[in-house]
């Protein structure tokens, strides 16, 4: 503990976050301290370059951290806030796991057989540049419920990353592992199970960190765009994305910031869970 406290890096980090919060606070309250006559010429200047005159550009419109904190304490006791947490986390983990369940076998199929690679990969590569969110309208038309539509988009987002990582992982398996296996008399199935599968796991694990980030983006966006009114949980159970959108529409800007920070924290948690799972599945990576 003492060692941690005397670590200069830690203090520098704390200082910079503190400075950040202070600057934010000052900027956000600029409407108040820019009001007096003293600042009139400055305000005119802002108006002349076509910006809002009453406060500092951009930062002036953001709610101050002190206000956000006060609001947050109030929200902590609201049940629907925690329901939003649950909804978003659930969608992210479910979508990601579904993407893995389908993406890993698909990727392995492409990696193992040149024929399937020749058939499947060009189509995959052509569809990949289309952002998952561009699929939202098509998804809503196609799937029966809102929930399944969102789930599909979430799945798509992570699916591309996972397949690419599986392919990359399979290609980089040292050719000597194959030679060793074959010289020890392994059948093709054995080689698949004991060389290819474990060989691709590290890149899947590493790649899933990126995939997780994309999944969150998609979930939040889908929640905001599709109105979030899910059958589960009623009108306020639409997830954190919906929470933010709703706060915006309702004019309570502090809650927007609360929502944003909450998602950041939730993201940490889900990545942590994934890394923990990854360590369980690839124990040999620790030794490196």
């Amino acid at each position: 503990m003492k060692k941690m406290l005397s670590n200069p890096a830690l203090w520098r980090g704390v200082v910079s976050i503190a400075v950040f919060l202070i600057l934010w606070e000052i900027g956000a309250r600029s409407k108040q301290w820019m009001a007096p006559e003293f600042f009139a010429p400055f305000r005119e200047l802002l108006g002349a370059i076509d910006l809002k005159k009453d406060y500092l550009p951009w930062i002036g419109a953001v709610p101050a951290p002190s206000v956000v904190l006060a609001s947050w304490i109030a929200v902590l006791v609201d049940r629907s806030y925690w329901q939003s947490w649950y909804m978003s986390l659930f969608r992210v983990m479910a979508g990601f796991l579904a993407a893995m369940l389908i993406g890993i076998p698909f990727g392995l199929m492409l990696a193992v057989s040149r024929v399937t690679h020749g058939i499947g990969f060009p189509v995959f590569e052509v569809l990949r540049p289309i952002p998952p969110l561009a699929w939202v309208p098509a998804s809503i038309i196609f799937w029966p419920t809102q929930e399944t539509a969102i789930a599909f988009i979430t799945f798509l987002g992570a699916f591309y990353t996972i397949v690419i990582n599986v392919l990359g992982g399979a290609r980089s398996i040292d050719v000597r592992y194959f030679q060793a296996a074959r010289s020890m008399g392994s059948s093709r199935w054995d080689i698949f199970r004991r060389v290819i599968l474990p060989g691709t796991l590290p890149s899947i694990v590493v790649g899933s960190a990126v995939g997780m980030g994309i999944t969150w983006e998609v979930v939040v966006a889908a929640e905001m765009i599709s109105g979030g009114g899910s059958q589960i949980g009623g009108t306020r159970g639409g997830g954190l994305g919906f929470f933010i959108w709703n706060s915006y529409v309702g004019g309570s800007y502090e809650q927007i910031v609360i929502g944003m920070i909450s998602i950041g924290i939730a993201g940490f948690i889900s990545s942590g869970l994934l890394r923990w799972g990854g360590r369980y599945v690839t124990p040999w990576l620790k030794a490196r």
Partner: protein
């Protein structure tokens, strides 16, 4: 014992030539001619096939058995010893510029049978077929580099001389490469893949009218709409507005990408290079980064009032984080030895930064830029769907709202194409700036 090939043996010769690297995809006609000038020879186990001081007259192709091929040390091969079996080719020293002597000693380990092909006769034959011949020589060069682990410099495989070769235009070369590609299974598999995908789409929506697929816009509807001079729903290749939307989206991405690169690369370089800077700045960076870009949308609208800036800001933010992070990782992954070597050689801190850090991090920076442009598109589309007034994301969303379904697909496909092109441009810029890496990767490829 040397013997010219009889009729049946010619087939066997062609078969083994097909298994070699240089002749592997040559035409039947060329292979038959090569078999025509080849002679067979047999060596007992332990017999020396040739030694390193002999004249480089014949090229050898192994039909059966095994031989050991050892380079003389002066040659500088990465691995001097190599074993050759059926399909292996050796004795090609005569193909190198100015090389008349053997480069290695070859001894048969088992009873070995070979084809001997006179080098000069082979060169003459290849010169008479400039396109194919040139290709075979290229494959010899590849084989020498990769299988015999000799550096590129020594692999100065002779260019075929002759008037036809000089006049060969790059067009005919491209056509020849194309014909080679067409002979491989790849383009047909690709067609099968697309046929399956498009066929399924067509059948599911328009023919079988499967339950969920019924409502979707069908393939023929979309294509006819896209290509129609007066489209029912207002957007096609012929309509000016279509291109306005594309231009709008591209312009926004360009702004965002430019800003993100101009800010992100220096920040990333500093984060990687200076520990103090990283200790101060990285915590704030890492606190803001996990917040999904799209969670910023409402706040961005509040901050920027004008939705145009808000949309560009969102695309910029995503891009910035990706670029800065990858640049930082690039700097951190530079092998310490390079920095130490530069210090030994008297470079000061700034010179190390300019001559070691920046070029060393460049590959990572470009990977980051490719990711960054993808991410930029991703955020842009979402932002446009929520609050734009032009642009492809806006098109997709409003088409949905106004029940113009085929236009949705047109928008999606356009997005895909434009996204791919911009990403490829970044990659090409990277390849141009980092010629050394392209060459290094080409040599290392399996």
């Amino acid at each position: 014992m040397d013997a010219a090939l009889g009729l049946g043996a010619a087939d066997e010769a062609i078969a083994v030539l097909r298994e070699t690297t240089p002749f592997g995809d040559a035409s039947e006609a060329l292979l038959a001619r090569i078999a025509g000038i080849a002679r067979r020879a047999r060596y007992a186990a332990g017999a020396r096939i040739y030694s390193a001081d002999g004249a480089a007259d014949d090229i050898f192709v192994v039909l059966s058995g095994r031989a050991e091929h050892v380079f003389k040390p002066e040659v500088g091969a990465r691995e001097a010893l190599r074993r050759v079996t059926r399909g292996g080719v050796f004795g090609w020293a005569g193909l190198l510029l100015g090389q008349t002597q053997r480069l290695a000693t070859v001894i048969a380990i088992e009873p070995t049978e070979v084809l001997r092909i006179d080098t000069e006769a082979l060169v003459g034959l290849l010169e008479s077929e400039p396109l194919e011949g040139g290709h075979v020589m290229e494959r010899f060069a590849t084989m020498i580099q990769r299988e015999f682990t000799l550096p590129a410099l020594l692999a100065q495989v002779r260019r075929l001389s002759g008037p036809l070769t000089e006049e060969m235009s790059s067009l005919s070369l491209t056509l020849y490469r194309l014909s080679l590609w067409l002979r491989s299974p790849r383009p047909y598999l690709m067609l099968v893949g697309f046929a399956l995908f498009l066929g399924f789409w067509y059948l599911a929506v328009e023919v079988w009218k499967l339950p969920r697929f019924r409502e979707m816009p069908g393939l023929t509807t979309v294509v006819s709409e896209w290509l129609s001079p007066s489209p029912t729903y207002g957007l096609s290749l012929y309509i000016a507005e279509y291109y306005q939307h594309i231009a709008m989206s591209v312009w926004r991405v360009a702004q965002a990408f430019f800003l993100a690169t101009v800010l992100g690369v220096p920040v990333g370089l500093l984060l990687g290079w200076s520990r103090t800077f990283k200790e101060y700045v990285f915590p704030v960076f890492e606190t803001l980064r996990p917040i999904p870009i799209l969670a910023w949308v409402p706040l961005a609208i509040v901050m920027f009032i004008a939705t145009e800036s808000a949309v560009v800001y969102l695309a910029f933010l995503a891009s910035f984080f990706a670029t800065a992070l990858n640049t930082m990782l690039g700097v951190e992954s530079i092998d310490e030895s390079y920095v130490r070597a530069a210090n030994c050689l008297g470079a000061d801190r700034w010179q190390v930064f300019r001559h070691v850090i920046i070029p060393g991090a460049l590959p990572f920076i470009f990977t980051g830029l490719q990711i960054s442009i993808g991410v930029s598109w991703f955020s842009l589309v979402a932002a446009e769907m929520v609050s734009g007034q032009y642009g492809l994301g806006y098109v997709i969303w409003t088409s949905y709202v106004m029940v113009r379904y085929p236009t949705i697909v047109i928008g999606m496909v356009t997005l895909g194409i434009v996204g791919y092109v911009t990403s490829a441009l970044v990659r090409i810029a990277g390849d141009y700036l980092m010629e050394w890496r392209v060459r290094e990767l080409a040599l290392a490829e399996r």
